[in-house]
Every structure is written in C-alpha cells, then in structure tokens.
C-alpha cells in the first residue's frame, strides 16, 4: 500500500507510531536489548512464546511494558497451521492482545514460509478475531491471498531470516506494493541501513527486523542507524526522486561560462 501523503501508519485500526518494528531475538541480554529498543524508537516489538522456566521468567515482557512498547507475539517455530493457531491463541491468553505475527515455516534451513499452511492459519485466525500480520515470501499472489483472507498487513521477506542478504528481488516487492490495500512490512533479510531505506523507497509502509540489530557489533548504534534509515527511505519515497538517466546532466549552468583564449 503506497501511502501517498505522510501519515501515521495504521495496522488493523491501530496507529503505529514508528515505521520500524523490531524483534527481540538474538540480544545478548536484556540490558543490551533495552538500549537497542530505545535507540530504535520502535513502538511495536515481537516476542516468541515458549515454555516458562525459572531463569527466563517474564523479563522481556516487563521490559517492553516499562518502555511502553506494544507487544507483537509471533508463532515462530510452528510448522503447521494447527500449531500456529494454538500458539496464537495461547499468546492472546498470556499477553491479552489480538495482534499476532503469523509465522509458519517449512524447514529449518531456509525458514521460508509454507504458503499452504500459512494461508490456512491466516484464515482461521482472522475468523477467530485476531489481527493477523503474516510473515510471507515475496510472491505477490500469496500476498494478495493473505490480504483477501483478511490479514491486517502483509509482511514479505527481503531474503531468508537472519541472512542479512537484503532485498533479493525488489521487483517482487514493488509488485506487492502496487496491488496491496493493506500495509506492506518488509520482514526478514535486512542486514544494514541502506537496505531498510531501500525497502521504504520501494513503497513498503514499515520494516521489521531483529538480527541486523541484535547481532550487530554495536546493537544500540545499529538500532539508531535503522531508525534513521527507515525515516530517510520514507521521506525519499514521498519526496519524488529524480528519474534515472543514461547520460549525464550538468548541475552547473552550461551557458555563459568564461572564455579564456
């Protein structure tokens, strides 16, 4: 969805203050995570659902609540629609939110979404009243089906999770944006700031990333870089870039130069 003028991002009726959505996975510890989240300026952040144990406790929830960041539970690790639906329902119980980042991956090596299970799970969760944000591949057809199923956004990947390979197929992302009636969030694959800016220039409404920040040498600084990059790309998209030209065009006036003969 190409927001033609600058306005707050709205997903499923919720206003999202920042167009940089972050994940919490991969951070060395909660102190590092806190500094990174603050530097990112994010207002919406993912968490995963796992069996409780003594050590972990509910530290990440306490942190997000203290920072006033809205929680976006995911269904990471689910391989079937059934697992994902149950995990989403448990997340809703535990976190009192109907938001869910829907992940249904096909295998451990690529962590690519399973298009069949993903669409099935999306339909079930929409019927069950969830606000569904599906992590999908960059297929414009699947993105459209997810929107038609009632998802509140579509979240295509740039490249596989954690690879840092950036946006491998900008043409697909552009086609997804061209047809989308819901926000498009570039999710997964971002490695560095210029790629986050590029996602926004392609017309995405937001960027979701985790590894690029949490596993950077300096997560806090990278979080700041990503914040600036998302703003830069969004502004550039709406500022109307110059057309690409094959040959040069002078930026200094060519006429009336001095003559020294």
């Amino acid at each position: 969805m190409d927001v033609s003028q600058d306005e707050t991002l709205v997903v499923g009726g919720r206003k999202i203050g920042s167009r940089l959505i972050t994940g919490t996975g991969g951070a060395a510890n909660l102190e590092v995570l806190e500094r990174a989240l603050v530097a990112s300026g994010t207002t919406l952040t993912t968490v995963a659902m796992r069996r409780i144990d003594a050590q972990t406790g509910t530290g990440v929830l306490d942190l997000l609540r203290r920072l006033g960041i809205e929680i976006l539970p995911n269904t990471a690790g689910c391989r079937t629609a059934a697992e994902a639906v149950l995990t989403a329902r448990l997340a809703r119980e535990a976190l009192e939110t109907d938001l869910v980042k829907l992940e249904v991956v096909a295998d451990e090596r690529t962590l690519l979404p399973d298009p069949i299970e993903l669409l099935d799970a999306a339909e079930q969760l929409v019927d069950d009243g969830f606000t569904v944000l599906p992590y999908t591949n960059d297929d414009p057809v699947l993105a459209r089906k997810l929107e038609q199923a009632g998802c509140a956004a579509v979240m295509p990947l740039g490249s596989p999770i954690g690879t840092g390979l950036g946006i491998r197929n900008p043409h697909n992302i552009e086609m997804i944006v061209a047809q989308a009636g819901v926000p498009v969030v570039l999710d997964a694959g971002i490695g560095t700031a210029s790629e986050a800016a590029q996602a926004m220039e392609l017309g995405c409404d937001a960027v979701l990333l985790a590894t690029a920040v949490t596993r950077a040498a300096d997560p806090e600084r990278m979080a700041h870089a990503m914040r600036l990059a998302v703003e830069a790309g969004y502004a550039a998209r709406h500022a109307g870039r110059i057309p690409r030209r094959y040959w040069a065009q002078a930026s200094s006036p060519e006429i009336d130069g001095p003559r020294f003969d």
């Binding site: 994940g23 919490t24 996975g25 991969g26 951070a27 995570l33 993912t46 968490v47 995963a48 659902m49 796992r50 069996r51 409780i52 144990d53 003594a54 972990t56 406790g57 509910t58 990440v60 929830l61 929680i71 976006l72 539970p73 995911n74 990471a76 149950l86 995990t87 329902r89 448990l90 997340a91 809703r92 119980e93 535990a94 976190l95 980042k101 992940e103 985790a210």
Partner: protein, 66 residues
C-alpha cells in the same frame, strides 16, 4: 496422579486443577497461558478445570524472539 507439565512428570493430587499445576511449577501470576492436551484453557477456567491422570500441561510465556 501423574501429569506432565512442560514435558516433565509431576505428581499431583487426584483432584488437581490447572491452578494446582501452575503452583507445582511456581508459575508467575501474569504473562502466561495454559494448554491441556492441546487445548487452550482460559485463565477464568484455571481454578475449575480438573486435570486427568497423564494429562499434558503446557505453560507458556513470552521470551525474546522474532
């Protein structure tokens, strides 16, 4: 009776409820959810939901991820 909580065997009273199971693992009050044998049990029903012998209880919370 024996029930499995997060994959570990526990010995609970025969009348044990979900609330008893949570007590057994000293689960926190908030930020958790429970599934028994693959079905979500709403917080409101924890006290009234009896566990069957051999029940599989999953107690989940949010962790860093995604």
């Amino acid at each position: 009776m024996k029930v499995e909580i997060n994959g570990t065997a526990h010995d609970l009273a025969d009348e044990a409820t979900v609330t008893d199971a949570l007590a057994a693992i000293e689960a926190p009050e908030k930020g958790i959810a429970v599934a028994v044998d693959g079905q979500v049990v709403r917080r409101a029903d924890w006290a009234s939901t009896r566990l069957a012998a051999g029940a599989a209880v999953e107690v989940l919370t949010a962790v860093q991820g995604g």
